[in-house]
Amino acid sequence: MSDTTRRKLLAATGAGVATGTVGLTMGPAQAGEARRSASSARESVVAYVHDHRSSEVRLMVGEREIVVHDRDLATRILNAAGGR
């Protein structure tokens, strides 16, 4: 996975992930040190982890679907999704 693509996802998930009516704010250590690149998405993005055992993350942005394979990225999303 390229840094650019990874940053796109982190930017999309941001420092907070809403799960139902419960909001979860991740600290700086969990959010990593990602910075937005000049080419990062400037619109809403949907991230989809179909299989929690896989490293695949699908990003829906505009009319494109970007498939990335990044264990760390998938794990961060899964951890955020499991937050209470």
Partner: protein, 458 residues
Amino acid sequence: MSSHREAPEMAKDPVADSTDVYAFVSPDRPNTVTLIANYIPFQAPDGGPNFNEFGDDVAYDINISNKGKAEADITYRFHFTTRVRDPKTFLYNTGPISNIRDTTWNRPQFYSLTRIKNGRSKVLAEHLPCPPVNIGPRSTPNYHHLATQAVHKVGSRRVFAGQRADAFHVDLGSVFDLGALRPFQHLHLIPMADTAGRNSLQGFNVHSLVLQVPISEVSRSGKAPHDPEQPGAVIGVWSAASRRKSRMFDKEKGAYVGHGPWEQVSRLGNPLFNEVITPMAHKDAWNARAPKGDAIFAKYVNHPELARLLPVLYPGVFPHLAAYHKSRADLNAILLTGIPKGIVPGFQNFTGTVESDMLRLNLAIPPTQSPNSLGLLGGDAAGFPNGRRVGDDVVAIELRAVAGVTIPLVDPSFTPDGAAGLLTDGTTDTNGGTKATFPFLGDPGGGYQTQPGTSAVS
């Protein structure tokens, strides 16, 4: 029916539900071909205040294969945009609509037409207005005028997108009651007295995409073919509707927001293919696939369930069909490859060996002056399964084909049962009628004018 609500998931998404596809050499301009794709089945004309309309979140495609590989070599894509002129009223119209640009129409719909060829998109037209639906004599007092205003010239093409009377006819109430055909139901396993058929689509409208383009624009050679036996004379046609891969409800907007690429959710080539050939468990997956992958469904064509059911439902009526266990090469040709040269003298609509459900039209066969609604079965090579005209009785044609009438084309040893050539559901088009000229489908029934049907419990 042809493809109205034909798959379990698609039945819940009428805006993307393709109901019928027609493709024929235009009788009003024989150097053109007319392509029609209908959507949104069973529109009660009085279904306000939110009347039927195309989906802004759906991409509507009419696909053409002309290179013999069952791929979309040319796609005409329609995208719609709906506006609300006055957000303070609940009304669809705030007064009579006498012109499609009248501001009394509170919810006008516009569309763009794009051609995709060789991977390149070209916007052919934008901001084309649709007509409103036919509400009634106070709101849409001269509906035919409104519909005529919505016929647009786009270069040498003509296009219309809007509500029409559904020209398809079938007796659903009878067919889905254990395969009964009212004109023959005294012969049914559960017999009843014969009666005339009832058109279940009577009184209902659809939304139609009607496109007329020069034959030279869609043919393989870029010219109008004149020899019906020339391989490049045939095109394959199918419609497809796609939605965004991700759809999320935005509470603030009170609307769904789409993300990601367009994913096909509905398609239609030959009438009734997904309806009565594909098993229910596979219908929605079939809808999401491209025709070129249809070889996996060929077994359902080669040994159709309906051909096994007919002798059971009508005991003793179809003994020859019941005893026929060979693969149905006739149906395979009609539905999946086209009929090769040498089967029907002077005719072919073969598109190659790739098994694919497409409506196949031989562009070199001119329109018939007096069409026979039984198409090729009636000796009229300008009709279904050579393309499909609005007036073709595809239910009777396909019933007879499945019952064995077309087997002798490929297996002369077979003699069809006497009843096979008589099969019909006994219905005709009892809606707005068809027109001899573009857009060929009749004006839709009006909400005020159309009388609701009468229900009966027993």
